[in-house]
Structures are given as structure tokens and as C-alpha cells.
């Protein structure tokens, strides 16, 4: 039964991946719309009181201009926002990587982006998709719920940008980190270990297998070692509606860890 399921799952995965939708157009070559939209929400919640809706409420500062007095690169913006400018009355903002990517994307596109078009996903509906139709908990884990077979998503909304998460949903292969690649090890005694790679060195590889067991395997005991570049995760481009995708993204962005 397990073998049959595995075959069906693999076939479904291949079908879904091959039918994936093109990724969403990028707004400004490098800033995905979902990052800009996330930044617009954050700006409205945390920045607008001082900087104003148009970004020009503080004399001598016009955020919409795309030019800043003290910063040049995106990293400069992150450093400045996290440190604040106490002399000017701006407090430090301890934003996680996801939110910072959003704020930067929004500031870079504030002049052209229409915040009124932002269609926010609903995290509670997204959770229902995550645990229901999307069947994400079959492989992923959030807190104490779900499986360890795929990467834990408890704090995904704090470490990955909105754009990256969205691309994972639509084109999983494009976002799979090499260390997470599925591996298949045929041992010299013929037993087979399928799992997700966690670590590897010249002589050994560490995986979490299909039964959620952490295993360290010596390569000297392996007859055949296959590393797959295809994610076992299906694309959700056609299996979820745009509203469901937005909700799911909203839920994932809400996962900030404990």
C-alpha cells in the first residue's frame, strides 16, 4: 500500500509541477508584488503616522522619491530601519527578515504602487487551506502539528520573503534549498532509505527519512546515492484558486515562530 501511494504521489507531483503557472510578474525587476503588498500593509500600520500616506509628512524627507539622504543599498535601508534615528525621533524597528524585505520592496516602489490594489489574504482561511485542501501538514509541520518529512514552517513568515514563499507555492523546485533535496540511498545490503537531506560531508550524510527518523549514514555502506533536484512538493498554481493562494500566503506570512 505504501508503495502504491508513493507511486501515485510521485505521479501527481510530476503532473502538477509540469503544469505549473508562470511566476507572477515582478514589479520592479527584483521586488515581487507580494513583497511590495506586504510592505504596504506594514507601512500603513507602523510608518504612516509619522511619514504620512504619501511619504512626505516629515520635512525634507520624501520616501516616494526613491532617493534617501542617508542610505543607498537595500542593506543600508535595513540597517537604518533597525537602528532608527533617535536624533530625528525615529525609533528602532526590530523587523524580521520577511517584514524587512516587504518594507524595502514597498519603499523602492512607493511612487508607482497603488496600495489600494492590495488584496490581503486571510490567515485564518489560509490555515484551513494549509490543513485541509492543500494537505500541507502531510509533509510540513507548524508548532506541534504536521510531519517532519518536509521543512518545518513554524517561523517561515519571519525568515523568507513573501515573494520567495509565493514562488515556493507556485514553483517549488525554484525555491528548494540544496540541503533540503530529496535523497535516495541504496545500502549495500539492498535496503533503501528515502529522505530529506539535512547535512552531508565527504564520508556521511544525515537525513530525516520517510518515517521521520533522523539517520546518519556512512557512504561506505551505500551502494547507490541519488540526489533529486525536483521537489516532492506539488505546485499549487492550478489546484488552489487565487483567493486560496492569497489566504495561504497570508497564513504562512503570519508564522513568526514562538
Amino acid at each position: 500500500m505504501r508503495i502504491v501511494c508513493g507511486v501515485v504521489m510521485a505521479a501527481a507531483t510530476i503532473a502538477l509541477v509540469s503544469a505549473q503557472a508562470p511566476t507572477q510578474p515582478l514589479h520592479d525587476a527584483q521586488y515581487p508584488d507580494v513583497d511590495i503588498a506586504l510592505g504596504a500593509k506594514l507601512y500603513a500600520a507602523r510608518c504612516i503616522t509619522c511619514h504620512g500616506a504619501q511619504g512626505d509628512a516629515i520635512g525634507g524627507v520624501n520616501l516616494r522619491s526613491g532617493k534617501f539622504r542617508k542610505v543607498v543599498t537595500d542593506r543600508d535601508i535595513a540597517t537604518f530601519v533597525r537602528a532608527g534615528s533617535p536624533a530625528a525621533g525615529m525609533p528602532p524597528f526590530a523587523l524580521d527578515d520577511t517584514d524587512m524585505a516587504g518594507i524595502i520592496a514597498y519603499l523602492r516602489n512607493m511612487n508607482t504602487f497603488d496600495a489600494a490594489t492590495v488584496k490581503g489574504g486571510d490567515p485564518s482561511r489560509g490555515r484551513a487551506v494549509f490543513e485541509g485542501k492543500g494537505a500541507c501538514v502531510t509533509c510540513h509541520r507548524v508548532g506541534r502539528t504536521g510531519s517532519h518529512v518536509a521543512p518545518d514552517l513554524t517561523d517561515i513568515g519571519a525568515i523568507r520573503s513573501a515573494g520567495s514563499i509565493q514562488r515556493s507555492l507556485l514553483d517549488p523546485n525554484s525555491q528548494m534549498m540544496p540541503i533540503n533535496r530529496p535523497v535516495r540511498l541504496v545500502m549495500k545490503d539492498g535496503t533503501i532509505v528515502n529522505g530529506r537531506r539535512l547535512n552531508e560531508d565527504t564520508y556521511s550524510v544525515q537525513v530525516i527519512d520517510e518515517k521521520e527518523r533522523l539517520r546518519s549514514i556512512l557512504k561506505s555502506e551505500v551502494r547507490d546515492y541519488t540526489i533529486s533536484k525536483s521537489s516532492p512538493m506539488p505546485s499549487y498554481a492550478k489546484t488552489l484558486t487565487s483567493d486560496e493562494l492569497a489566504d495561504l500566503l497570508g497564513y504562512l506570512l503570519s508564522l513568526k515562530g514562538q
Binding site: R2, A15, H148, T154, N199, E210, E212, R213, L214, S216
Partner: protein, 559 residues
């Protein structure tokens, strides 16, 4: 769409199957209670709830220990005193490294599966170094106290944080450095900070949610039993006296307690009183500092206590790991035995706290004898004269061991070591050192080292030396002693094959015959051994592990 349904169906079935498999691998409360039936594993900080630091494994013997061979080394990326004892669960090793990382390793190869990194508050206030001594486990969850006084739960398979609870305010001097103790569905921890005027406590948290379930203050408040030992200041006093001394009376907890399932009691050693040396400003016995407290596991209520050093002015923390011995001395009494920093070896009835035995294991002159109830008759030394044992104690936090095979109790001791105390008044200010003076080491020439020595041991025997001492558990008679030139902070491991493993500041890791103290094997690991060795088995091979310097070394017999 049909494909999707199939996918979900298969996934659900697979998930159910996986969950059922997972249960078998989980560390249940029952497994923790019966840890001795799993000799291959090391499930708690001290190896079992009785804190014997004794391994039932016997593959490595006095006859073949000379064939020990290094299997692997794990090097910590952060410099500093490393005091962790790893846990091993079914071939997985979990250990902590500075400042508050948890590392999951393959116990056979030392290769990492994951690393959990916790960044403590940079404004934390921690006495005596960024130490952490290990984790506890229940189910598939690991628990660790942090330097900034939080308790975290971490998924043992993924290394992801499940919950985090603030135990106390770090900027007020609170911290957690010891490995938690898991009992039933609770995670029990205490707080450090005895040099910063904390009000110490032990508390239990839900392993599932991190919610606090009970808290026992080691410094009783007004109206609570024991508060009367924080006596009122005299009407007229020549020296400063603090009428609110109890509010910052110390009583820290910085070593892991023990548990008796039959009595449903958990035992914890309590640290020094604050301020450490300025006794005049806190009249009274200052309960429950320098005591052992026996607490009901379910409620956190005090069943009994015994105070080793009433009104301490020597910093004689009583945080040593409580060791539980059944049928002590064939009397039928289930006892708790204790080698204390104040230089005495004790036995107490662990059901009632009744004093059974107290006698020195090193030179002691701060007291002369015990009264019939076990209270020490103190003999303070004249100003400028040495007090034995010195400030670091006859022993300290170094894990002792009890072998049911030899019926001996083993400890790391500092011998011929004294300090000269110089108290001075101090007013409490949050987050500021609150010791009230300090000791200086007693030595033949001025400037003798206290407890930090350089790699070149220029002081040799002139400022005390270390030893492994074996005591008859029933009467405290010294059965044998293994002397070292330098002092030692090493814990001790014994095994069912009558081996004893210990180290010291010199960096030697040595195996002794637990029956005689005869040196059987040694290797120079090059860095001080400040933690307790442990042993485990994977497959058919027994391993022995110890930290030395910045590295964890794992040995097994040469094949």
C-alpha cells in the same frame, strides 16, 4: 483533481502510520522513571532520577580500558568554559554549547543533524560565565534554560522552537544555567543570580505549553514558614543591617535536582545567601539558603528541608546534585547523600529530612561538630585567619557518582584549600554585584591564586590540590583517594564494570578502578574538564564521552 484527492488520502494514511511509529521512539515519562532499564541511553542530566551518574554498561572493563580509542571529536565554535553533559537517546546525542545553542548529533559519528540557536538578551546579567549544562527531554521535545532566564521547548527532530517562556527578569540578575528536570508532564527549573540579590525559586512548567504550574520561593516571604529566620535588625547596630534583606536574599538554583517517584518528591539544592559575606546585615539562619528542599512534584509545596550552613558567610552554595541511595547502609532507610561545598558529607532520610550522618571529607574549621538535630556548631575564625574549606569549597557543583556495585560515593574535592574572608556592607541595587566583600585565597605567600590558574601551574601544591575521593556511602569513611596536582572541576562517572572516569583542570581524562582508585588509563585532552562524563551504547559498542576545553571527545574500545 482526482490525483489531488488521492494525494491527500495517501498523505493522511501515511501521516497516521508515521504518528504511530513516532510514539515508540518518544521519551515518555515512564522511560525516564525506568532509565536504568535502558543502559544504552543517557536520558537525564545525571543519568537517572536518583542522580547516580552511573552507567549499567560493562563492555569497557578494568582489563580492557587501556584499549580505549578516540572515535570522534565535536569542537564548539564559541570559546569559554564548557560544562554540558550530553543526552543520548537511541543513537541521537543532544548537547548544549555556548551561549544557548542545542546541537543534535549522530552519536556514532559526531555529525550534526541540526543546531538550534537562541540569542540571549544582550543586557542579561549572569554571574560566573555564559554556562549551560544541558537539556532535558520528554516525548520528542527538548527543554533548555537560557542565560536570560527563559525556558524554551525545541522539537527534537527539527531543532525548531515550540515555545518560549520568560521565567524571570534577566536584567534583575536572574539566569538559568542548569539542565532542567522533567518529571511527569512538568519541566522543573530554578534560577541563578545569587551574587545579584535575586529572590530565588524553583518552578514547574507545563511541558506542553510552557505555562507555569507552581513556584516555590527559596526565600520565604512574610507569613510563610521560614520567614522568621530572616530576623529583624537590632535596635542599635554598629554595622549596616537591612530590614528587607529577604527581598534579595539569594537562594539561587543552578544545578539539576533529583526525583523519587515513590515519594513523589523532587529534591533541589539551594545556593548561597545574598549578600554572600556581609552576614551582619541579614541576621538569622536565612532559610532556605544553603539547604536542600524536598518538594511535592504536583504542587510544589515544601515537604521538608535541611540547612547545611545556617547564616552562611562563606558562599557555601548547596547546589550539589542530590544523590538518592536506597536502603542506605542496609538500614532500610532510603537516604539522600550529599558532599557539600562546606566540606561535609551528609546522609538524610529522604522521606522526612531527618539528619542521619554528617562528617567532614576535607579539612573543616568553620564548624566543630553537629548537635543532635544535625545543626552545625559554628566556629568562625578570627579576622585574617584562614577558613577551611576555602571559598570554592571542599567540593562544588561537580557531579558526584554513586555506584550500587561498590556501594561507594565518589566526589571531586579540593584539599588543603582555605580562604580569608573580608566582609563589607553593601546596599542592594538591581543588577549590581551584591556579595558584600570577598574572600582572598590563603597561601604561603601573598597573591596566591584563588581558583583561576594559568596553564603553567606555578602554584603547584601550595594553594590546594584536587582529588577524587571514594567514601563509604553508609558512614563516610574514606576508602581511597586519587590525588591530582591541580584542582578539579570535573564530574565523575562510574560504570557497572567498576570503572570510574573523571578529569580535572590539567586536561587529563582518566579511568580509575572504582574499587581501589588505581589508575588504569589516561589521556591528555589538552583542556580543562569541567563537566560530567557520561556513557552510552549504540549497536554493540559502548562509548564514553567527556568535554575538555572547547571540544567533546568520545571514546570506545579499539576494534
Amino acid at each position: 483533481m482526482a490525483g489531488t484527492r488521492t494525494l491527500v488520502g495517501c498523505g493522511t494514511a501515511a501521516l497516521i502510520a508515521l504518528l504511530s511509529i513516532q510514539v515508540h521512539g518518544q521519551v515518555t515519562s515512564q522511560r525516564l522513571t525506568a532509565a536504568n532499564t535502558e543502559p544504552q541511553n543517557w536520558l537525564t542530566y545525571s543519568g537517572n532520577y536518583s542522580s547516580h551518574r552511573f552507567s549499567p554498561l560493562d563492555q569497557i572493563t578494568p582489563a580492557n580500558v587501556k584499549n580505549l580509542e578516540l572515535q570522534w571529536v565535536y569542537q564548539a565554535p564559541v570559546a569559554g568554559n564548557w560544562q554540558t553533559t550530553p543526552l543520548v537517546v537511541d543513537g541521537m546525542m543532544y548537547l548544549t554549547q555556548r551561549p544557548n545553542d542545542i546541537v543534535a548529533l549522530d552519536a556514532v559519528t559526531g555529525r550534526a543533524f541540526w543546531i538550534y540557536r537562541y540569542t540571549p538578551n544582550p543586557d542579561r546579567i549572569v554571574c560566573c560565565g555564559a554556562n549551560n549544562r544541558g537539556v532535558a527531554i520528554l516525548g520528542d521535545t527538548l527543554f533548555m534554560g537560557t542565560l536570560d532566564a527563559h525556558l524554551v521547548a525545541v522539537d527534537a527532530k527539527s531543532g525548531r522552537q515550540i515555545w518560549k517562556t520568560e521565567v524571570a527578569t534577566t536584567t534583575a540578575g536572574y539566569s538559568i544555567t542548569h539542565a532542567p528536570l522533567v518529571v511527569k508532564d512538568k519541566v522543573i527549573v530554578g534560577v541563578g543570580g545569587g551574587e545579584y540579590g535575586i529572590r530565588g525559586f524553583v518552578a514547574a512548567y507545563s511541558a506542553e505549553t510552557g505555562k507555569e504550574l507552581w513556584r516555590f520561593y527559596t526565600i520565604p516571604g512574610p507569613g510563610e514558614k521560614g520567614h522568621e529566620t530572616w530576623e529583624a535588625c537590632p535596635q542599635k547596630s554598629d554595622s549596616f543591617c537591612d530590614p528587607d534583606a529577604w527581598k534579595h536574599g539569594g537562594g539561587s538554583i543552578w544545578m539539576t535536582g533529583s526525583y523519587d517517584p515513590k515519594l513523589n518528591l523532587t529534591y533541589w539544592g539551594v545556593g548561597n545567601v545574598g549578600p554572600d559575606y556581609a552576614g551582619a546585615q541579614r541576621p538569622g539562619d536565612n532559610l532556605y539558603t544553603d539547604s536542600v528542599v524536598a518538594l511535592d512534584v504536583d504542587k510544589g509545596t515544601l515537604r521538608w528541608h535541611y540547612q547545611f550552613t545556617p547564616h552562611d558567610v562563606y558562599d557555601y552554595d548547596s547546589v550539589q546534585v542530590p544523590v538518592l541511595v536506597d536502603n542506605w547502609g542496609r538500614t532500610g532507610i532510603d537516604a539522600l547523600v550529599w558532599a557539600n561545598r562546606n566540606g561535609n558529607y551528609y546522609a538524610l532520610d529522604r522521606a522526612t529530612g531527618k539528619f542521619l550522618l554528617g562528617r567532614p571529607f576535607v579539612k573543616v574549621n568553620w564548624m566543630s561538630e553537629f548537635d543532635e538535630r544535625g545543626r552545625p556548631i559554628q566556629t568562625p575564625q578570627p579576622p585574617g585567619q584562614p577558613t577551611y574549606p576555602g571559598n570554592q569549597g571542599g567540593t562544588n557543583w561537580y557531579s558526584p557518582s554513586f555506584s550500587p556495585r561498590t556501594n561507594l560515593f565518589y566526589l571531586s574535592a579540593w584539599e588543603d584549600y582555605a580562604s580569608i574572608y573580608g566582609p563589607s556592607p553593601v546596599e542592594y541595587r538591581q543588577g549590581i554585584n551584591f556579595t558584600g566583600g570577598g574572600p582572598r585565597p590563603y597561601g604561603p605567600v601573598p597573591g596566591a591564586p584563588s581558583f583561576q590558574r594559568a596553564p603553567i601551574n606555578t602554584w603547584t601544591e601550595s594553594a590546594g590540590h584536587g582529588a577524587v575521593i571514594a567514601l563509604d556511602v553508609a558512614n563516610g569513611d574514606q576508602k581511597w583517594k586519587f590525588n591530582m596536582t591541580d584542582v578539579t572541576d570535573s564530574g565523575i562517572l562510574t560504570t557497572a564494570s567498576n570503572l570510574l572516569f573523571a578529569g580535572g583542570r590539567e586536561g587529563y581524562f582518566q579511568a580509575l578502578d572504582a574499587r581501589t582508585g588505581t589508575l588504569l588509563w589516561k589521556t591528555n585532552l589538552g583542556g580543562p574538564i569541567n563537566s560530567g562524563p557520561m556513557s552510552f551504547r549504540v549497536g554493540n559498542k559502548q562509548y564514553v564521552a567527556t568535554v575538555s576545553g572547547l571540544s567533546l571527545f568520545v571514546f570506545a574500545l579499539r576494534e
